[in-house]
Symmetry: C2
DNA sequence: AAACAATACGAACGGTCGTGCTATCTTCAT
DNA sequence: ATGAAGATAGCACGACCGTTCGTATTGTTT
């Protein structure tokens, strides 16, 4: 029976802060995050929020981790429960488009935004974003390999995975930038064409 | 014989500032741009740079305009000189991948980065970015329509244009984030599959 | 009860931001 | 030659940034 009341309290406010942080960062970026803004909006003291993470960079890393958990619970975990090969590949696509369209994060896909923000900057934040993005790309690729091995589709699995990932991200980008849902419809049509049975 | 020497001088430093501004913004975003930083790096006074644009937002808008001109000169204009239909469509794809891969902007495609940065924020900067992005998307779409009308390819032109645009942007994103050139090779293979003659 | 640990706060720090005001210097028009 | 117009510089401002410090509060341990 652990449950140190002090640590529990800390983790609780930590979670409150991070829940807001991922939403803020999905719109204004991880640089747009500010201790003072978070503290004001959540009616906490700036120094209290700061002490909870130790530095701004640690807050950014914790925010990425929190976003990753949400992303996994919406997209990866449900898809991993679907039978391997084509069905799972379809689930990944549909879950991802749904995750973007439903605005699980108000600024659209969290990792699309922070990926573009930190793609050309060195540092721990870049590495964390690249790792998160890369692990999802690997999940798509592995599923595509299975789908081809099972004879569900006929294609180069690496190219197929790249295409599906590209279509999803483009739909997210266009829809968030221009509004409307047309981009999602286009992505679904293109994905279906790619995933037509062998 | 216009050429007011005063205005000419202003335009000259304006161009110097904007050339640096597009590079900075492609890495650190249009929010990462700062008057003080630009002034220091270019050995100008902060107030001088400020006076040249009137406000930070005007500087951002001017930076977008400058980037658009560079983008057009590398991608759009040469492609528009190629014969319509499939050849022009191929030229767009190849020019764009080349523009990304050669790092015309050090952070990769300028509009990919600032598009992700401002996609979910209202205001004039968002509108300018959306307009620039939209006009390029329209150019691809119109070219795809021609290619289909000429019988060069057999596809839904709107979906085809969406796919090609998506593949290019994904290659840029992956290559800048993870380094290497594999993403460009994957994009080229996928594009070629899409553009196989009818 | 006493000693310790963690959260949370308020005030202050040095720094940078965008933005004004004012003055100087260059170029043009008369 | 004189004065207006534009470019550029210097300086100061208020706001916000991340960070540090001291301290009160709450909870755990002995």
């Amino acid at each position: 029976m652990p449950a140190d009341g002090r640590l529990a309290r800390g983790d609780a406010t930590r979670r409150v802060v991070l829940r807001r942080a991922v939403d803020v960062a999905s719109v204004d970026g991880l640089d747009g995050l500010s201790l003072g803004r978070l503290a004001t909006e959540l009616e906490l003291s700036k120094s209290g929020v700061f002490a909870l993470f130790g530095s701004k960079e640690e807050l950014q890393l914790a925010t990425i981790e929190a976003a990753l958990e949400i992303f996994r619970s919406y997209v990866v975990t449900p898809a991993a429960a679907v039978s391997p090969g084509l069905p799972r590949l379809r689930a990944i696509c549909e879950n991802w488009l749904d995750y973007s369209e439903k605005r699980v994060f108000p600024g659209g896909c969290f990792f699309f935004n922070v990926g573009a923000e930190f793609d050309a900057r060195p540092g721990r934040v870049h590495d964390a974003v690249a790792a998160a993005s890369g692990s999802f790309a690997a999940f798509i690729r592995e599923t595509a390999v299975e789908a081809v091995a099972l004879g569900h589709v006929d294609a180069d699995p690496e190219v197929l995975a790249f295409e599906l990932h590209a279509l999803g991200r483009a739909a997210n980008a266009d829809a968030v930038l221009n509004g409307g849902t047309r981009a999602y419809a286009l992505a679904r049509r293109a994905m279906n064409a790619r995933l037509a049975g062998a």
